[in-house]
């Protein structure tokens, strides 16, 4: 689900690399991280695990500019191992562009097929039609002797005639071209009013106008004041930070937003798995700070930060009030977004090439 900030001229798209375990998703992102100039990428995050495999996701923001707009592609990988199925589908929430990575080795065909059918199942469960999502295929490990012929791979995995690319992620061949193509397709999707209107609710674009940005900041400032908070944030569970106010102890807001979004969705899923119900909040405590998250609507949540000295009753009242007012403001944003998006149709058509061509050559 893309987010378009009119005031700051920023467009945020979510790109997900999906595929079976050890097919080269992480390696593809690592290649981009190593070869894009620092100005065009954010911090690469691979969640710390003792096993060297993707636990929940890997994350790399890729940034480019065109015609005064800043385009941020938040690239995620899904965990490939079957064991992590529960967390895999969380990463797919609100995806704008999908790279389906296939391990070309003959002995991995069954796993590739299973991953593909699981992908369709997961998208369907989230109310999204897989055929509407911009998708490209990356046939990885083409250099290995056991790689199946390309036409055989096409017959097996590309019945929909999607754009597909042979690649060797380890050496980077085909990786950049695949990324550029999906980045362009994700952006072009925004211009397709028909495509956008048929997206599932979790996948629709949010357009935040100048007046909305001001309203959110005012509402968060009021929450901070009345709840005794040091800072607060409004976060979208697919693409990160929508607004923030007060003292946020982090420099990289992009990464912070993505981490908060993934943290929250995992916690929510955990709650559903345990009790079949939602939760009132997550509390995270450290020696210096307490971080509290609570849901605002079905796609967004509020994050409150305080130093542990906030009066619980006062905080509870302030959060309850803020949830109501912010939720109403978000409802208005959701209603206005389709018509606002139409204004950008021409712009995105013209910048879709520039936005990707502006990236450093890899």
């Amino acid at each position: 689900m893309a987010i378009l900030h009119e005031a700051t001229k920023e467009v945020i798209c979510k790109v997900v690399y999906h595929g079976t375990g050890m097919c080269g998703k992480t390696t593809s992102l690592m290649y981009l991280n190593h070869h894009l100039p620092p100005s065009q990428r954010g911090k690469f995050i691979s969640l710390e695990t003792p096993t060297e495999r993707t636990l929940y996701f890997d994350f790399l923001p890729v940034i480019t500019e065109a015609r005064g707009y800043k385009f941020r592609y938040l690239c995620f990988t899904t965990p490939g191992q079957d064991y992590y199925e529960a967390s895999r589908k969380l990463v797919l929430k609100g995806v704008d562009g999908l790279v389906y990575v296939i391990d070309s080795q003959r002995e991995r065909m069954h796993e590739n097929m299973t991953a593909l059918s699981l992908l369709e199942k997961n998208l369907n469960e989230m109310g999204q039609r897989p055929d509407l999502l911009p998708t490209v295929i990356q046939y990885n490990k083409r250099d290995l002797p056991s790689a199946i012929p390309l036409d055989e791979a096409e017959k097996k995995f590309n019945s929909k005639h999607l754009l597909s690319f042979p690649a060797v992620a380890r050496t980077g061949q085909g990786v950049y071209e695949t990324f550029l193509t999906i980045a362009k397709m994700a952006l072009t999707k925004l211009t397709s009013a028909d495509g956008e209107s048929r997206m599932g609710d979790l996948f629709k674009t949010t357009v935040i106008a100048q007046e909305d940005a001001t309203r959110f900041r005012t509402q968060l400032a009021k929450l901070n004041e009345e709840g005794g908070l040091t800072g607060s944030m409004l976060v979208d569970e697919s693409s990160g930070l929508l607004s923030s106010q007060g003292e946020i102890p982090a420099k990289d807001f992009e990464t912070l937003g993505a981490l908060l979004a993934c943290n929250f969705t995992a916690a929510q899923e955990l709650a559903y798995n345990m009790s079949g119900q939602g939760f009132t909040g997550i509390v995270q405590k450290s020696a210096k700070r307490t971080l509290m998250a609570t849901r605002v609507d079905k796609r967004r949540f509020l994050v409150c930060l305080h130093d542990g000295r906030a009066d619980p009753r006062r905080l509870k009242d302030a959060v309850l009030y803020a949830r109501g007012t912010i939720s109403a403001a978000l409802l208005q944003v959701d209603q206005m977004s389709p018509s606002r998006l139409a204004r950008f149709g021409e712009l995105f058509t013209s910048v879709s090439r520039l936005a990707v061509a502006g990236m450093g050559a890899v």
Binding site: E85, R142, H161, R170, Y176, E177, T255, L259, A287, K288
Partner: protein, 382 residues
């Protein structure tokens, strides 16, 4: 029996291995943590989300899913803490139906997940008391002393081959050409064209993997020509052909503008001074002043003169573009002196229009954004 991750294509790495004694210590500690807490259970999982030990297995919940989610949640929390300059967070989820989940890091190697089903207000405090007491320290000790198993799956390695620079330049140019055409002529990318491109890419990947640079070069060139033919576009064989046409037209327009206001003698002086000034910067391109005359700039002569020394069009093209653009800049400066800012702006506009006309021809050589890049740097006050 805890589920065992694995199966074909998955790794079986685990974070640590407990001895029988350590396992019993862990089991005792987990029991102690939830002792006396109604309908509660505690699970120790490693940081990769695999269940190590359970006390009072909860009924009707998908434990492997919960473990994987808890580990994912905690891993993001760990990163969040780092992003916010904290050491570590402990986690507590509050449920609407009086359920609570408490996640606590154990010796930086494992997570303790406690499920509490009660609305008692002091439950979390009581739990924290146990975790900070003897039971908690027994658990930490057992986990800390557990051995680390050997790794079976190495982390992915990035090892890009040393592709010759010219070839790299050519493959990038081909990618840019394909993407540009896809944007401008999407209807011409039929299934046949896409299949052809896929096969060409595959052959290129194979050639690059085998370090067969000559074949890769031929494939790039062949694919470019094939694609341009599919799109019914001009197929210039050499970058020089395109550059000559582009700059001939630009200089033609500029010379015409100047001739309307300056005598041939004056123009000769102007061009000679340009040559003296620029040939020092671009000695390989501006080889003789006979190519600059009141009749204009002999672009073909300049290209052929420079090419005779190198015989490498791709390598020469970058320097040639810089030299020609420097010349354009100087001519624009003269136009400004004669016709003022409006005249200069009009000349830039006309030159840009000419460039646009040749965009698709420059694209296959990766020069679409290189030509004319510095024209706008001309200070209008000069």
């Amino acid at each position: 029996m805890p589920p065992t991750p694995g199966g074909p294509g998955t790794d079986t790495n685990v974070a640590f291995v407990l001895t029988q004694t350590q396992r019993m210590q862990v089991a005792r500690a987990l029991d102690g943590i939830v002792e006396g807490l109604p309908q509660s259970s505690s699970v120790l999982i490693d940081r990769a989300g695999r269940i190590v030990e359970i006390a009072r297995k909860p009924f009707g919940v998908n434990l492997p899913a919960i473990s994987a989610l808890a580990a994912g949640c905690f891993a993001t929390t760990h990163e969040l803490a780092a992003a916010m300059g904290e050491d570590e967070y402990s986690l507590l989820f509050q449920h609407e139906n009086d359920q609570q989940v408490y996640i606590w890091p154990v010796a930086n190697r494992a997570l303790l997940v406690v499920l509490l089903k009660s609305a008692q207000a002091n439950l979390v405090e009581s739990l924290e008391g146990r975790l900070n007491g003897t039971v908690g320290s027994d658990l930490v000790r057992a986990v800390k002393e557990a051995q680390e198993p050997p790794k079976t799956v190495p982390p992915p390695k990035i090892a890009p081959p040393e592709i010759p620079q010219e070839l790299r330049h050519r493959t990038r140019a081909l990618t840019a050409l394909i993407m540009d055409l896809q944007t401008k002529r999407p209807e011409e990318f039929t299934r046949e064209v896409n299949t052809g491109l896929l096969q060409a890419r595959e052959a290129l990947v194979q050639a690059l993997s085998k370090r067969d640079w000559r074949k890769a070069w031929e494939l790039c060139e062949g694919t470019r020509q094939w694609l341009l033919m599919q799109m019914h576009l001009s197929q210039a064989q050499d970058v020089g052909e395109v550059l000559i046409r582009v700059y001939r037209e630009i200089f033609g327009y500029m010379n015409q503008t100047l001739r309307a206001s300056a005598s041939p003698d004056r123009l000769r002086i102007i061009y000679q001074s340009f040559f003296r000034f620029l040939s020092r910067q671009f000695p390989r391109v501006l080889t003789s002043d006979r190519f600059l005359s009141p009749d204009g700039v002999d672009v073909q002569g300049l290209w052929e003169g420079a090419h005779a020394a190198t015989h490498d069009s791709v390598q020469l093209s970058t320097e040639f573009v810089k030299a020609m653009d420097a010349l354009v800049r100087e001519l624009l400066r003269v136009i400004y002196l004669i016709k003022g800012n409006e005249g200069r702006e009009e000349a830039v506009k006309q030159a840009t229009e000419i460039l646009k006309k040749y965009h698709l021809e420059l694209l296959p050589f990766g020069l679409d954004s290189a030509v004319g890049r510095d024209w706008t740097l001309i200070p209008s006050q000069n």
